[in-house]
C-alpha cells in the first residue's frame, strides 16, 4: 500500500500531538493533585466525589456545633456543682442553727450568712456563657431569675442543636427545673418569697367557701381526718355528723376544752364551730381541705395547733352516738387511750403540700411542695426560720435541703448524660469523617507515582518519534537525481 508523503507527515503530526496531549493531561494531574479534572474523566467517580465532599462539609459543621454544645453544657455542669457546694454550706448552717445552745442573735447572724448564700446562688444561676444565659429558655438575653423577688422570668423551652445526622442535644437548662419557678395566675404579682400570713387582695370569681386569706398552715404537720368508711365526702356543705356530739380538745399540758357539735352539722359547720369558739380557737385551728382532685373530690378536716409546730400534742376525745367509722368518730385522736381516727401527717395534700398551681394557696410560704422542689424557696425558708428563731422550722429546712440536694444530683446526671452523648458522637463523627476523607482521596487524588511514570513514558515515546521523523525523511529519491 502506497504511503504518500503528505499522509505520512499528517499522521505523524497527529501522533505527536496525541502524545503531547496525554503529557499535558498528566502534567495537570500532577499540578492539581487530582485524578479527576472534569466530569468526563470519570463520570461515576465525580458523582461520588460530590457526595463525599457534601458529607465532609456537613461533618465539619457538626464539629463546630458540638464545640458550642460542649461549652454550654460544661458551664452548666460547673454551675450546678457550685450550687451543690453552697447547699452543703447551707445545711451546715442549718444544723448549726438548730442546736439548742444558740441564742437568737447567733441565729440572726447565721441568717445573714444564708442571705449571702442566696445572693450568690442567684448570681450563679444568672451565669452568662457566650452571650447566653444558660439557665434561661429561649429568652436568653435576659437574666432568668429576677434578683429582687427570685421569680423565674424566662420561658421553659429547651434549645436543641444538631450534633450529627438526625441527632440533637439540648444546650440549656431552664432554672424552673429545680431552682425557682414562674408565678402565674392571680398571685403572679405577689412578692412570693416573703414570709407567711399574706393576704390576697384581688378576688376574681373565688371558689365557694374558700377563704381568700392564704392558709397560715403549719409546714411541720397537722392532724388529718381519715376517709369515712361509707366513701369520700364530696361536698363539705352536706351533713357530716348525723347525731352531733362533743369534742374534748386538749393541747399539750393545757386545760381541755369542750365543744358541742350540733346534729347534721357539715364539715364546714364543724370547722366554723372550732374556729369561732373563743376557747378552742386559742389552741387549735381547723380547715376543710380537698385531699383528692377537682374531678374526684375528697374533703377532709384538718386540725392544727395554733402556736405552730405543736400539732402532734393535740388530743381530741369524741363523745357521740354516730355510727363507728363515720361522723364525729372520725375526729378522735388520743394515742394514749388508743382511740385514734385522725393521723398526724407531715405533708397533707391540699393543706401544706399543694401541687396544683391553680390552688390559691399554692404560693403560700408554707407549701412544702414548693419548698421541697425549689432551691431558692428552701434557702429562703431556712433564712426566715433562723430570723424567727423557730427551731422546729429550722429542722424542717434541713429536710428541704436534703430533698433539694437530690434534685441537684438528678440535674447533674442529666447534664452529664448530655456531655457523654456529645463525647460519643464526637468520636463517632471523627471516625466517619476519616473514612469519608479516605474514600474521597481514593476517588479524587492522583497517584503521584503513577502519573510521574506515565509522564516519563510518554516523554521517551515523544523523543523516539522525533528522532524517527528526522531519520526517516533525511532523504528521498530527488536527492539522488543528478
Amino acid at each position: 500500500m502506497k504511503v504518500t508523503t503528505g499522509f505520512f507527515y499528517r499522521t505523524f503530526l497527529g501522533d505527536i500531538n496525541k502524545q503531547i496531549e496525554e503529557m499535558f493531561k498528566a502534567q495537570r494531574q500532577l499540578a492539581t493533585g487530582k485524578r479527576v479534572l472534569s466530569p468526563s474523566d470519570d463520570p461515576i467517580a465525580i458523582s461520588r466525589i460530590a457526595k463525599y465532599k457534601s458529607e465532609i462539609s456537613a461533618l465539619d459543621e457538626y464539629k463546630r456545633v458540638m464545640d458550642t454544645a460542649k461549652i454550654f453544657n460544661s458551664a452548666t455542669e460547673k454551675a450546678i456543682d457550685d450550687l451543690k457546694r453552697m447547699l452543703i454550706k447551707a445545711k451546715q448552717y442549718a444544723v448549726q442553727g438548730s442546736t439548742d445552745t444558740l441564742s437568737p442573735t447567733d441565729r440572726l447572724a447565721i441568717a445573714r450568712e444564708i442571705d449571702t448564700l442566696i445572693q450568690r446562688s442567684i448570681d450563679t444561676i444568672n451565669t452568662k456563657v457566650s452571650g447566653r444565659y444558660i439557665f434561661a429558655g429561649f429568652k436568653a438575653d435576659t437574666a432568668p431569675v429576677n434578683a429582687q423577688n427570685g421569680i423565674y422570668q424566662s420561658d421553659t423551652n429547651l434549645q436543641y442543636l444538631d450534633i450529627s445526622f438526625f441527632l440533637d442535644v439540648a444546650v440549656n437548662l431552664p432554672a424552673t427545673e429545680f431552682f425557682t419557678y414562674t408565678a402565674t395566675g392571680q398571685l403572679a404579682s405577689l412578692k412570693i418569697l416573703t414570709p407567711y400570713n399574706q393576704t390576697v387582695l384581688t378576688n376574681d370569681s373565688p371558689p365557694p367557701d374558700e377563704i381568700l386569706q392564704l392558709h397560715d398552715v403549719d409546714p411541720l404537720g397537722a392532724l388529718l381526718m381519715s376517709q369515712p368508711s361509707a366513701g369520700a365526702v364530696t361536698n363539705p356543705a352536706n351533713p357530716f355528723t348525723t347525731n352531733g356530739g362533743t369534742l374534748t380538745i386538749r393541747l399539750g399540758d393545757n386545760q381541755a376544752v369542750n365543744l358541742n357539735i350540733l346534729a347534721n352539722a357539715s364539715l364546714n359547720d364543724i370547722r366554723d364551730a372550732i374556729n369561732n369558739d373563743p376557747q378552742t380557737s386559742k389552741y387549735v385551728k381547723a380547715w376543710v381541705i380537698n385531699y383528692g382532685t377537682t374531678n374526684s373530690s375528697d374533703y377532709r378536716l384538718v386540725i392544727g395547733s395554733v402556736p405552730n409546730g405543736k400539732s402532734d400534742t393535740i388530743r381530741i376525745d369524741v363523745t357521740t352516738t354516730d355510727a363507728p367509722n363515720s361522723g364525729l368518730n372520725l375526729l378522735a385522736y388520743n394515742p394514749e387511750s388508743g382511740n385514734v381516727s385522725m393521723s398526724f401527717q407531715e405533708n397533707i395534700n391540699g393543706y401544706n403540700f399543694i401541687s396544683d398551681p391553680a390552688d390559691p394557696n399554692y404560693y403560700s410560704f408554707n407549701n412544702n411542695y414548693l419548698n421541697e422542689n425549689y432551691y431558692l424557696r428552701a434557702l429562703h425558708f431556712l433564712k426566715v426560720a433562723l430570723e424567727n428563731n423557730d427551731q422546729g422550722r429550722i429542722q424542717k429546712a434541713v429536710d428541704y435541703i436534703d430533698k433539694i440536694a437530690d434534685k441537684l444530683f438528678k440535674q447533674q446526671s442529666l447534664i452529664g448524660a448530655r456531655l457523654n452523648k456529645i463525647e460519643t458522637i464526637t468520636d463517632y463523627n471523627l471516625e466517619v469523617e476519616t473514612n469519608t476523607k479516605q474514600s474521597l482521596s481514593n476517588d479524587q487524588d492522583a497517584d503521584a507515582l503513577k502519573v510521574i511514570s506515565e509522564l516519563n513514558r510518554r516523554m521517551s515515546v515523544l523523543q523516539a518519534l522525533r528522532t524517527t521523523l528526522t531519520d526517516f525523511f533525511r532523504g528521498n529519491l530527488f536527492d539522488f537525481l543528478r
Partner: protein, 548 residues
C-alpha cells in the same frame, strides 16, 4: 513521407514526453495540496493512416488522456465518515464547555455553594440572635443565588454563541454552493479541467462536513447537491439557506425553493451544523430545565418552612427567596402553601387558570387553550380543622389551604427561573430562625427550631424525589457520561477517517519517490526521442551529401 516520418515520430515523442513531464511536475508541486488527486498520463500509440496488409509502421505516440486517479467509492466513504467526525468534533467541544460550567471536580463547584448555604443555617441555630450569624447567612444565600444566576446565564450565552456559529456555518454553506455552481459551469464548458474538478470535490467535502448532503453527477458533468432531497445546486441554479430564531428561541432554518421558502431543520441530518442544533436545542435546554427545577423546588421548600417561622422582630409569613411564579387573582384570595414541579416538560412554563366552585376544581392551560384534569387529594390538619387540597397536573403540584368557593386565579412559573433566583430578605431581623414569636412570652431570641428545620431540608427529598445535592450530582454525572462518550465517539471516528484517508492516498495521493521515478523515466524518453531526431537529421545530411 519516408524521411520526414522519422522527424514526425521524434517530434511526437518529444512533445508527448514534454507534456508528461509537465504532468509529473504538476503532481510534485501539489504533493502537499489538501484533497489533490494525482494525475496520470495515458499514452497511446498513433496508428498509421494507411490501410495495408502488412509492413506498416505507426506514427508515434500521443497522450490519450490525462486522468485523475480517482475512486468515487472511497471518496464517498471518506466524505461520509469525515462528516460524522465533524459532528462529533463540534459536539464534543460543546460538551467540554458545558462540563466547565458544571465542573464539580473544581474547588469552586456549585455544590460547595449549596453546602455552605445550608451550613450557614446550622451556624445560625447555634446563636439565632447573633447579627454576625444572620449577616453570614444572607451573604451565603446571595452567593448561592448568584452562582445559579451565573451558571444559567453561561448556558444562555453558550446558546447565543452556538447561534452565531450556526449563522457562520450557513454563510459558509451559501458561499460553497455559489462556488460549486461556478465550477460546475466551468467544468461543463471545459471537461478537461482536472484541477477545477479537484477544487469542486474539495468544496463538496467541506460542504458535507458542515451539513450532510447528497450529490450526484448529471450527464453534462455538473454536480447536483441535495439536502434531504431538496435541491441546493441544481442545473445552474443555487438555492440559499438562512437561519433565524423562532418564537421559542430555537433555531429555525429556511431553504429557498422554486415555490417559496420551506423549513429546513428536519432536512439537516448530520455534520457540524447538526451538532450545533443538537447541542443548542436538545442538550443545553435539558440542563437549563434541570437547573430551573432545582432552583424552583429549593425556593418552594425553603420558603414554605421559612414562612411558618418568626424573625427576631416577630415578623412571620415572609419568603426567604423571591417567589418564582407570577400570580394574578381574579376572585377570592388563594392561600398557596406550596408549588413544586416533579419534572420539567413542555407545559411547565404555561399559564394555568384554577377555579374552585366549592366541590370541583377546574384547571385550564391558558397558553395552549386546553383544559387539564388534575388529580386532587385533600386532607385536614389540626383543630379547628384546616383544609388542604393538592392538585397535581402536568408534573406540577400545587397545594392550597382553606380554599373558598368562587376562587379564581392564574399562576405561571417564570421561564428561565434560575435567572430570577434571589434572596428576598434584606433585613437580618426578618430571617425566621424561631418557630414561635420570640418577642412573645412562650419563646425568646434563642429559639432556633425553624433554623434547624431549614437545615434539615438538605436531607429531604424536596427536588422531585431527590435531595438537593443528589439531584445536582446526578446532573453533573450525566453530563460527564455524555461528554465522555462523545470523546470516545470522536476518537473512534478519527481513527476511522484516518484509515479511509490512507486508502484514498493509496490511489490518489502523490508519493515523491514515485514521481521521481516517473520524472527520470520521462526525461530519458524525452532524450531518446530527441536523439531520434538527431539521427533523422544525420540521415538526411548523409542523403544530401550523396547527391552533389
Amino acid at each position: 513521407m519516408a524521411l520526414t516520418a522519422l522527424f514526425d515520430i521524434g517530434k511526437s515523442g518529444i512533445l508527448t514526453y514534454q507534456k508528461a513531464l509537465e504532468v509529473v511536475s504538476h503532481n510534485v508541486a501539489n504533493a502537499a495540496t489538501e484533497g489533490y488527486t494525482r494525475q496520470d498520463v495515458i499514452f497511446q500509440n498513433i496508428p498509421s493512416g494507411i490501410l495495408s496488409y502488412a509492413g506498416v509502421t505507426g506514427r508515434g505516440v500521443k497522450i490519450a488522456d490525462i486522468r485523475r486517479m480517482y475512486n468515487s467509492f472511497i471518496e464517498l466513504q471518506l466524505k461520509t465518515e469525515s462528516s460524522r467526525l465533524g459532528y462529533w468534533d463540534v459536539f464534543q467541544s460543546g460538551m467540554l464547555r458545558l462540563e466547565s460550567i458544571f465542573n464539580d471536580a473544581s474547588d469552586i463547584a456549585l455544590s460547595n455553594a449549596i453546602n455552605d448555604f445550608f451550613n450557614a443555617w446550622q451556624e445560625l441555630s447555634q446563636n439565632p440572635s447573633g447579627i454576625a450569624e444572620r449577616s453570614l447567612l444572607l451573604d451565603k444565600a446571595t452567593y448561592l443565588a448568584h452562582r445559579f444566576n451565573l451558571s444559567y446565564r453561561a448556558l444562555l450565552d453558550e446558546r447565543y454563541e452556538i447561534y452565531k456559529d450556526s449563522q457562520n456555518f450557513v454563510n459558509q454553506i451559501n458561499q460553497y454552493l455559489d462556488q460549486i455552481n461556478e465550477l460546475n459551469e466551468k467544468i461543463v464548458a471545459n471537461p478537461g479541467a482536472l484541477d477545477a474538478k479537484d477544487q469542486r470535490e474539495n468544496l463538496v467535502k467541506q460542504l458535507n462536513d458542515i451539513v450532510n448532503i447528497t450529490y450526484f453527477e448529471d450527464n453534462a458533468g455538473r454536480y447536483s447537491i441535495l439536502l434531504g432531497g431538496m435541491p441546493l445546486v441544481d442545473g445552474g441554479k443555487v438555492y440559499h439557506m438562512n437561519v433565524r430564531l423562532d418564537g421559542n428561541q430555537n433555531l429555525q432554518f429556511n431553504l429557498e425553493t422554486v415555490s417559496g421558502s420551506i423549513d429546513a431543520k428536519r432536512l439537516i441530518q448530520g455534520g457540524k451544523l447538526k451538532a450545533e442544533i443538537d447541542l443548542r436545542d436538545t442538550v443545553i435546554p435539558e440542563y437549563m430545565n434541570k437547573l430551573n427545577m432545582l432552583v424552583f423546588d429549593l425556593t418552594d421548600a425553603i420558603n414554605r418552612v421559612h414562612r411558618q417561622g418568626y424573625g427576631l422582630d416577630g415578623s412571620t409569613g415572609n419568603n426567604f427567596f423571591n417567589q418564582l411564579y407570577d400570580l394574578t387573582v381574579a376572585a377570592g384570595s388563594p392561600d398557596i402553601t406550596s408549588i413544586n414541579i416533579s419534572s420539567v416538560n413542555s407545559n411547565t412554563y404555561d399559564q394555568y387558570r384554577i377555579q374552585y366552585n366549592g366541590t370541583n376544581w377546574t384547571v385550564t392551560d391558558n397558553t395552549t387553550g386546553s383544559s387539564v384534569t388534575p388529580s386532587v387529594t385533600s386532607w385536614t390538619e389540626g383543630t379547628p380543622p384546616v383544609y388542604y387540597y393538592r392538585l397535581s397536573f402536568n408534573d406540577i403540584n400545587i397545594t392550597l389551604r382553606n380554599p373558598l368557593a368562587g376562587l379564581d386565579f392564574t399562576f405561571q412559573i417564570k421561564p428561565n427561573t434560575a435567572l430570577y433566583f434571589d434572596v428576598a430578605i434584606t433585613d437580618t431581623d426578618k430571617i425566621a430562625a424561631a418557630s414561635s414569636d420570640p418577642t412573645g412570652s412562650s419563646s425568646g431570641p434563642m429559639d432556633n427550631r425553624n433554623a434547624r428545620a431549614i437545615y434539615g431540608l438538605l436531607d429531604s427529598p424536596i427536588i422531585g424525589n431527590a435531595k438537593p445535592i443528589d439531584f445536582y450530582r446526578s446532573i453533573v454525572s450525566e453530563i460527564g457520561v455524555y461528554s465522555s462518550s462523545a470523546k470516545t465517539q470522536k476518537n473512534f471516528q478519527e481513527a476511522l477517517v484516518q484509515e479511509i484517508e490512507k486508502r484514498r492516498q493509496d490511489i490518489s495521493g502523490v508519493s515523491l519517490d514515485e514521481e521521481a521515478v516517473n520524472l527520470i523515466k520521462y526525461q530519458k524518453m524525452y532524450e531518446a526521442s530527441a536523439r531520434v531526431i538527431r539521427v533523422a537529421d544525420e540521415i538526411l545530411s548523409t542523403l544530401f551529401d550523396m547527391v552533389r
